[in-house]
């Protein structure tokens, strides 16, 4: 426990403490704007941390990291556009809640779930990182493939109406994902001689287009047709009964999110979708996922924040970045003269336990900033539709351009916007497309690498861990098909 005492001691310096709210505020601003990512925000402030003492710099970066992860939910709820890829699953129920006049409630829920997920994640990280890191190493290439397959099976249950439409959307997603460099053989695919295409379709412009731009087009069309205006905000309270009822979802989603986050290369976006799917699977029959179900918002947000903490397990314990933001943190640690790895917990206890305490503080600070801030952010939807959505389009353009400063990304965003608009019109769900874009490359690359590692033999599919995850994925598929049939029958009975 002496490590905690040392961490606590160094945190009592006001100049260190002051970095907590500064970092969180910066993070919230960066995360709430689609296109600006926590990675770039942290990289921007990295040279600045060279001039600070190690812990102060680390606390600033961690504040940005935590703040941005939460803030992605704000535009996801209000304008159906995730501010960061992690909040993609939040749109599934967050935006329907806002449309039904429960935006205030949805924002409160996403804030509370983020803070809870983040704190659970911080605790797991602080107490179990070295043990868990060793466990994460047992996830090799074949296991990554199995996890990707498991994530892909979500398509069957998340598609809403028709499973077949979900599969069509997913197939389109796989096609989009295959543009760019072949990850194993190293030649460009579907590039048609264009170096922009051979660089691949970037996730953020696609995300901003298919959610933000598409929704703006849909809403503008509706606004022009019916002069539909202002939506209700609703209250901010969530009721005492809900808090208790949402507790199991929060805890479960946090564990799932943390576990997926521990795997390098698997981020909060996947964690959010898996947790959402599990919440749906275990949710009671009355729960209406996809139509504004509070559990959906809570699951997605608790999971992505916990996932963010999970990504720090390999970072702190093995010196391997769990995601791109963690790579920046690792840079900060190295420059501070600290070698991340198992020895970190004993060689620099004040730094490591100081940052765990700092992260917990950052979440407390986020709670305060969030509770004050949501009353401000929610004003966005008070803007009449005919003004609001053109502004959203402008932000989509700026956001897509901000990713790499290329007009190609703006073009991708616009085409994705039109695609998303058409899909919505034809009642094709966009979530399966997005899941396929994120997970497809992981599945492909790890399948092919497993084949190379095992010299063309399929025996790796039978390794215990791989086989169990694949069996679970198959069961999940069968279960959702069965449940889907049950629901369809129930609806028919009601109709009769």
């Amino acid at each position: 426990m002496s490590g905690w005492a040392e961490g606590f001691a160094v945190l009592q310096d006001w100049s260190v403490l002051a970095m907590v709210p500064i970092g969180v505020l910066l993070g919230v601003s960066i995360g709430a704007i689609p296109g600006l990512s926590a990675t770039v925000g942290m990289a921007m402030f990295l040279p600045f941390t060279f001039t600070l003492d190690p812990l102060t710099g680390l606390i600033l970066l961690l504040g940005i990291y935590n703040g941005a992860c939460y803030a992605g939910a704000i535009p996801a709820v209000l304008i159906n556009t995730p501010g960061t890829p992690s909040s993609a699953a939040t749109t599934l129920d967050g935006y329907p809640m806002a449309q039904k006049g429960r935006a205030g409630e949805a924002l409160t829920l996403s804030l509370l779930a983020s803070v809870a997920g983040g704190l659970i994640g911080t605790a797991l990280l602080a107490f179990f990182a070295p043990v868990l890191a060793r466990y994460a190493l047992s996830f090799g290439t074949p296991e990554y493939f199995a996890i990707a397959v498991l994530a892909l099976t979500i398509i069957a249950s998340i598609g809403g109406g028709q499973i077949s439409k979900g599969f069509v959307a997913a197939a389109l997603g796989l096609l989009i994902a295959s543009v760019g460099f072949d990850p194993v053989a190293g030649f460009p695919r579907l590039s048609f001689g264009s170096s922009d295409l051979s660089g691949g379709i970037q996730l953020i412009p696609l995300l901003v287009g298919i959610f933000g731009m598409a929704e703006a087009l849909t809403q503008l069309e509706r606004a022009i047709a019916s002069r539909l205006d202002r939506r209700e905000i609703g209250g901010f309270g969530i009721g005492s009964g809900w808090a208790r009822r949402l507790l199991p979802t929060t805890a479960g989603a946090s564990m799932i999110g943390f576990g997926t986050g521990m795997l390098p290369g698997v981020g909060g976006d996947i964690g959010g979708y898996i947790a959402y799917n599990e919440a749906k699977r275990f949710g009671c029959r009355s729960a209406k996922f996809g139509e504004g179900e509070p559990r959906g918002v809570v699951a997605a947000e608790a999971a992505n924040n916990a996932s963010n903490m999970g990504s720090l397990v390999p970072t702190f314990a093995l010196g391997i970045p769990g995601n791109t933001q963690a790579a920046v943190l690792l840079g900060a640690l190295l420059i501070a003269g600290v070698q991340p790895g198992p020895g970190l917990f004993t060689s620099a206890p004040e730094l490591i336990y100081g940052s765990f305490l700092g992260m917990a503080l950052a979440y407390v600070c986020l709670l305060a900033i969030g509770l004050l801030g949501i009353r401000l952010w929610i004003q966005v939807i008070q803007i009449p539709s005919v003004y609001l959505w053109p502004i959203v389009i402008l932000f989509c353009v700026v956001g897509a351009y901000a990713v790499r400063n290329t007009t190609f990304d703006v073009l991708v965003m616009m085409l994705a916007g039109v695609l998303g608009y058409l899909m919505t019109k034809a009642r094709y769900p966009v979530a399966p497309l997005l899941i396929a874009v994120i997970v497809g490359p992981i599945a492909e690359e790890n399948f092919r690498r497993s084949m190379i590692l095992h010299q063309g033999s399929y025996e790796w599919l039978l390794q215990p861990l791989t086989a169990s995850i694949l069996a679970f994925a198959a069961a999940s598929l069968v279960f959702s098909a069965w449940r889907h049939r049950g629901q369809a029958r129930a609806e028919r009975d009601v109709a009769r």
């Binding site: 060279f50 047992s138 760019g180 170096s195 970037q202 790579a327 190295l334 790499r404």
Partner: protein, 325 residues
């Protein structure tokens, strides 16, 4: 007449005032750099190119006396960023970081970009590639690896991609020792995936920049077998070079700066001067010491020549490896 004179004098005064203003503007324009400089990085934020360049740029804001704006344009092994800079005005205000791949992409038919599209400003870091194993590996030296391969064993080598600079270095090593075919490239998406694979024993050998695994080496989770540099490096003083082990191969990740071809010589000189000052600053030296990167300065002319030689070398190498188009 007097009125006329006065009028002429007034005109003269006005003209000379105008001339003086123009002259002043010209002087200001010659004061290079007077506007913010933009550096375009071809890789994502948080990677080694990004971190090294940002550290240098932070010091250069002082030495160049202007703001430096950094843009990340990842994609296509750095090609997208290089194209952006190639198409920018050749006025010295847009700088590219030169990835190692600049010497390879055109040979492989991935882009028509070569070093000839740019004028070098300087090279600041050369991070040699190293060969690493786990402590329980049967291989204690590269000779052991070569012997095992010659004995018919298949050795799985983790790299960060099929045609990445790492892969080219190890293919060069395999060719040099006559064990091509026994050393199999296992491409991972970057070091963050390759390093765990090496730690868990999924592969037999890891090729990566030495600075990427300083921590793992310090904690004896990974053991270095050799570095592909001309001489031993500061962070791995006890690790022999490949050359010391009888393998004539060098290779590493190169970090440099370049401007579009056709940029005026005085501006290249000015940039070189202020970025060299940044390279020699205390702030950048502190960064070098703490991050473990290998500083390796080359001036504009030397770096130009170096890039031309590398282009030649990669061309021959890729041809022999069957990777050239």
């Amino acid at each position: 007449m007097t009125t006329m004179n006065r009028g002429a004098r007034a005109l003269c005064t006005a003209l000379s005032a105008l001339l003086a203003t123009t002259a002043a503007t010209t002087v200001a324009a010659q004061q290079f750099p007077s506007e913010p400089i933009r550096i375009v990085i071809g890789f994502a934020a948080g990677g080694s190119t990004d971190t090294n360049t940002r550290a240098l740029a932070a010091a250069a804001e002082e030495t160049c006396g202007t703001e430096i704006v950094i843009t990340n344009q990842p994609g296509g092994s750095g090609v997208i960023a290089l194209e952006t800079v190639r198409n920018s005005d050749a006025d010295g205000y847009t700088i590219a970081t030169t990835p190692t791949e600049i010497s390879a992409v055109s040979h492989m038919g991935l882009s028509d970009i070569t070093h000839e599209d740019f004028g070098a400003v300087m090279r600041f870091v050369f991070d040699p590639h190293g060969f690493f194993v786990t402590p329980d590996s049967p291989y204690k030296s590269l000779q052991d690896v070569v012997d095992a391969a010659k004995g018919g064993e298949t050795i799985r080598v983790a790299t960060s991609g099929p045609a990445s600079p790492y892969a080219i270095t190890f293919e060069d090593m395999a060719r040099n020792t006559g064990v091509t075919g026994q050393l199999v490239n296992i491409p991972y998406q970057g070091d963050a995936m390759a390093i765990p694979a090496a730690l868990s024993g999924e592969v037999d050998l890891l090729v990566t920049n030495a600075s990427n695994v300083v921590g793992q080496v310090a904690e004896e989770a990974l053991v270095p077998l050799g570095v592909a540099s001309d001489s031993r490096i500061a962070i791995l003083p006890d690790t022999p070079t490949l050359e010391e082990q009888g393998i004539d191969v060098t290779g590493g990740s190169i970090f440099g700066l370049a401007v579009p071809a056709g940029t005026p010589g005085d501006r290249v000189e000015a940039l070189n001067a202020c970025f060299e000052a940044a390279f020699r600053s205390d702030a950048f030296n502190a960064y070098v010491e703490q991050s473990g990167v290998n500083p390796a300065y080359l001036g504009a002319a030397d770096y130009d020549a170096y890039l031309a030689a590398e282009y030649q070398r990669y061309g021959e190498l890729l041809e022999q490896l069957g990777l050239a188009q």
